[in-house]
């Protein structure tokens, strides 16, 4: 395996990790505030469809992004209403969001575009184009570092850079700001927040809204950057993988980056090596494709250390004496 191959695999790791990372951070905000969100998948899917559709009609990827975030926010508001205001079961509400998105996107897509539940292929300004960072071409010939910069660091769409910037931003917000302190507190012990004179409901809605925005970006990235348009079920379980990554990351932003990169790497390897020939046996492509999902199961089965979720997670807050 030569250096360029490794760089290409890593490059594709980055691209595949981005939707997972965004969804994982989205879940992080929500769950740190004590709202379990199994509906990441559905929100991403709805965002992917609406961003793809609006980008196809308007020809602008940025308008598509806005539409995606809007669609995701609407579903977030639904989840918030059910689980915060009406104190319903958060898992059921999340599952409902997933079903709603899975059915609605295909039906609406068929009604609008009549292409069998997909949006038209996007091209030009309707898609996020790779950005070449300054000096990438000039430095390409510098040994080792040149290709690293040109291949791996430069040449991604703006959404990729936004996603990676979200990691330190989230860390800073969580551990260095008043909002972060209160957010973490409300997921651990909402009664402490309430008696301190801060609105539990307000904080939780804020967290769910941030979750919606990030899922919106993730979905838009899938439809308008990673691929050219929306296709049925294009999230392919990424929302669930992001949840597994969130547990793996112990609800911390930097760990979330590492966890999602690991999942991204597995997907990249599966994409590149269809059959791996080990001499005596050949590992079939299906095994490779299944790797991220197998890892998800392993993580969820709790083989990887002990992860302590936010203590008030999943519990509606009811005032008591």
């Amino acid at each position: 395996m030569d250096y360029m191959t490794i760089l290409q695999i890593l490059d594709s790791t980055v691209r595949l990790a981005v939707p997972l990372l965004l969804a994982c951070l989205a879940g992080l905000y929500s769950e740190r505030a004590g709202i379990f969100d199994i509906g990441l998948e559905g929100k991403m899917l709805a965002a992917a469809f609406f961003s793809g559709a609006v980008a196809a009609v308007s020809g602008s990827a940025w308008l598509g992004l806005l539409a995606g975030m809007g669609a995701s926010l609407v579903l977030s508001a639904l989840h918030g209403l059910a689980s915060i205001t009406f104190r319903g079961n958060q898992l059921i509400s999340g599952v409902a969001v997933n079903f709603l998105a899975a059915g609605m996107t295909v039906v609406v897509a068929q009604d609008w575009f009549k292409q069998g539940g997909r949006t038209p292929s996007l091209s030009g300004a309707a898609r996020f184009e790779p950005i070449t960072l300054p000096g990438a071409e000039a430095l390409r010939d510098v040994p080792i570092l040149g290709p690293l910069y040109a291949e791996l660091i430069s040449g991604h769409t703006s959404l990729v850079y936004i996603a990676f910037a979200c990691v330190p931003l989230t860390w800073w917000a969580l551990y260095r700001t008043r909002f972060g302190l209160r957010l973490r507190a409300v997921g651990e012990n909402p009664a402490a927040v309430d008696t301190a004179g801060v609105s539990v409901v307000g904080l939780r809605y804020a967290a769910v809204a941030i979750c919606g925005v990030l899922c919106g970006i993730a979905g838009a990235y899938l439809a308008t950057a990673l691929q050219a348009g929306f296709v049925k079920d294009m999230t392919a379980g990424r929302g669930y993988i992001a949840l597994a990554a969130l547990i793996f990351a112990k609800w911390r932003p930097w760990y979330a980056l590492l966890a999602t990169l690991l999942f991204g790497l597995l997907q990249a390897i599966a994409l590149r090596y269809q059959n791996i020939d080990l001499g005596a046996i050949t590992i079939p492509v299906q095994v490779m494709d299944a790797l991220p999902y197998i890892l998800t199961v392993v993580i969820l089965a709790g083989f990887v250390g002990k992860a302590i979720p936010p203590r008030a997670g999943g519990e509606p807050y009811v005032k008591e004496r």
Partner: protein, 511 residues
């Protein structure tokens, strides 16, 4: 009274929860710089009244005056602004935050944490010096003891510049030593001019520290008196509405043959910590053995082993027959079949299922009793009848088998558990913290039932962190510390001082 305006004045406060009138036309004046006790049985409405003052509930009727000024308190924020701080019975702390983070939560200055934390650190140092409230600001809450956690709650209030401090049953979770420390702190706060409202149902605390005391009964304020001019007996009568015997009235024990004999009991928990170290003891028929000790020194494990909830090594015999400690017959079912009844320490977690009806709860542990069965089905009618009879006999209020367990007050919940276990006429009764969070009327009743069972010839193992309870109820006292029995004493020949030393692991004289 002088012309100083009261720190708190409530006028005609009423509050109803559905059909239940929790507070009825309550008026009260608390003078600044005093400690004012509010005493009453569980469910008398003390906590509701204070929750109204802290903006947790909204009163249906009535007015609040703070330092003579009429003040509306719609939420906790308003209460904090009015200078009111509250220390709840169940602490409102974020367990995995540091002390400092808990203190500033909700009272940060500005959007960034760093300056707030620095300011709070300085302020905590000052408060520690002023009031003797020493706490490590960087300690994580879940790693410090309850006494310390309570200090953090007080610090939270002081940091928000509270000059009125409400404490709801503050000593319920504390050891006697920690309670004394708390009282020293409260004394100091009073000397600095703070006004303190102390809610409790423990008469001793009221007599020890308060200046004035208000008594509540069934949602009404029945009296407000100067502490110096009253007596525990008078207060108890005002609380319960009838004369109460504060001492347990019992005849000397007439011990018979050895019922329970424990030899060399060892328990190691899943973390590898040895919880019981070579524990040996015996109890005779017609005898109450009291186990004293600070919570967490192995008493719970001892009860769990005897009750069949935890496995152990060693040898236990009941009436001379060995009991299975690890095998198939080491579960609670087998223990009950052998005549061991168990009133567990935590009634809400181990004694009852809070969402089940009283009659269902009365069946637990004994649901295989043929009297409750009709073929393969449960005989619910018989069970309900039996429950009604037990409720009648144990004075459970309200005596309705169709109420869920959580709808009873703490004392009545405990009576349901005690009735279930004692009515089986066990040969050995295990009782853990029989009166924790139970009002005095019910305490008297439960104590009398335990003594009555002893007089019928049962052996009783009593575990309690309340020294008074151990001293007044036991025929013999064993003290546990760090999983070991430190020594045995006779109640007439020892006192709280000596037991306290043993509880702290110091052996004053040869055991």
């Amino acid at each position: 009274m002088s012309d100083v305006a009261p720190a708190i004045e409530l006028k005609g406060i009423s509050k109803a929860f559905g059909p239940v009138q929790a507070n009825k036309d309550i008026s009260i004046r608390v003078m600044p710089g005093t400690i004012h006790g509010i005493i009453g049985e569980n469910g008398a409405g003390k906590s509701t009244l204070m929750s109204i003052l802290y903006g947790f509930y909204k009163a249906d009727k009535g007015e609040v005056f703070i330092h003579g000024k009429r003040t509306a308190i719609p939420d906790s924020q308003a209460a904090i602004a009015a200078g009111i701080g509250m220390v709840f019975q169940h602490f409102k702390l974020v367990e995995n935050f540091t002390v400092l983070e808990n203190v500033i939560l909700g009272a940060e200055d500005g959007r960034l944490l760093r300056p707030s934390l620095a300011k709070a650190r300085k302020e905590l140092k000052r408060l520690a010096e002023d009031y003797g409230l020493n706490v490590d600001p960087d300690a994580v809450i879940e790693e410090i003891g309850v006494g310390m956690q309570q200090r953090v709650e007080i610090l939270k209030a002081l940091y928000r510049q509270a000059d009125i401090l409400i404490l709801d049953e503050p000593t319920g979770v504390l050891t006697p030593a920690e309670a004394n420390q708390l009282f020293r702190i409260l004394d100091r706060l009073r000397a600095e001019g703070k006004t303190i409202v102390l809610i409790t149902h423990k008469l001793r605390e009221i007599m020890e520290i308060t200046d004035t005391v208000s008594v509540m009964r069934r949602g009404q304020m029945t009296a407000t008196v100067k502490t110096a001019e009253t007596s525990p007996e008078q207060l108890a009568e005002l609380m319960v509405g009838r004369k109460v015997l504060l001492r347990v009235d019992k005849a000397p024990a007439k011990p018979g043959a050895v019922v329970l004999d424990v030899q060399g009991l060892n328990v190691t928990d899943e973390k590898g910590v040895q919880r019981l170290k070579d524990v040996s003891l015996s109890i005779r028929a017609g005898e109450i053995l009291g186990i004293a000790g600070v919570a967490g020194n192995g008493q719970s494990e001892l009860l769990e082993v005897l009750g069949g909830m935890t496995r152990a090594t060693g040898r236990i015999t009941l009436n001379g027959e060995e009991i299975d400690l690890t095998g198939r017959h080491s579960d609670g079912q087998s223990r009950r079949a052998r005549g061991i009844a168990h009133v567990p320490e935590d009634r809400q977690r181990e004694g009852l299922i809070m969402d089940f009806f009283a009659w269902e709860n009365v069946a637990f542990g004994y649901h295989r009793d043929p009297a409750y069965r009709r073929g393969v089905l449960m005989d619910n009618a018989a069970l309900q009848e039996d429950t009604a009879r037990k409720m009648e006999k144990f004075d459970v209020r309200p005596p309705n088998p169709w109420l869920t367990a959580k709808n009873f007050s703490g004392g009545n919940q405990q009576k349901i558990v005690v009735a279930r276990e004692i009515e089986r006429n066990p040969t050995l009764l295990l009782v853990g913290q029989p009166t924790r969070g139970v009002d005095i009327g019910a305490i008297e009743f439960i104590h009398n039932q335990i003594v009555a069972l002893r007089d019928q010839g049962a052996a009783v193992l009593l575990v309690s962190v309340e020294l008074d309870e151990i001293l007044s109820l036991s025929d013999r006292i064993a003290v546990m510390f760090d999983g070991k029995i430190m020594g045995e004493r006779l109640p007439g020949q020892t006192d709280a001082g000596e037991l306290g030393l043993l509880m702290a692991g110091m052996n004053g004289r040869a055991a």
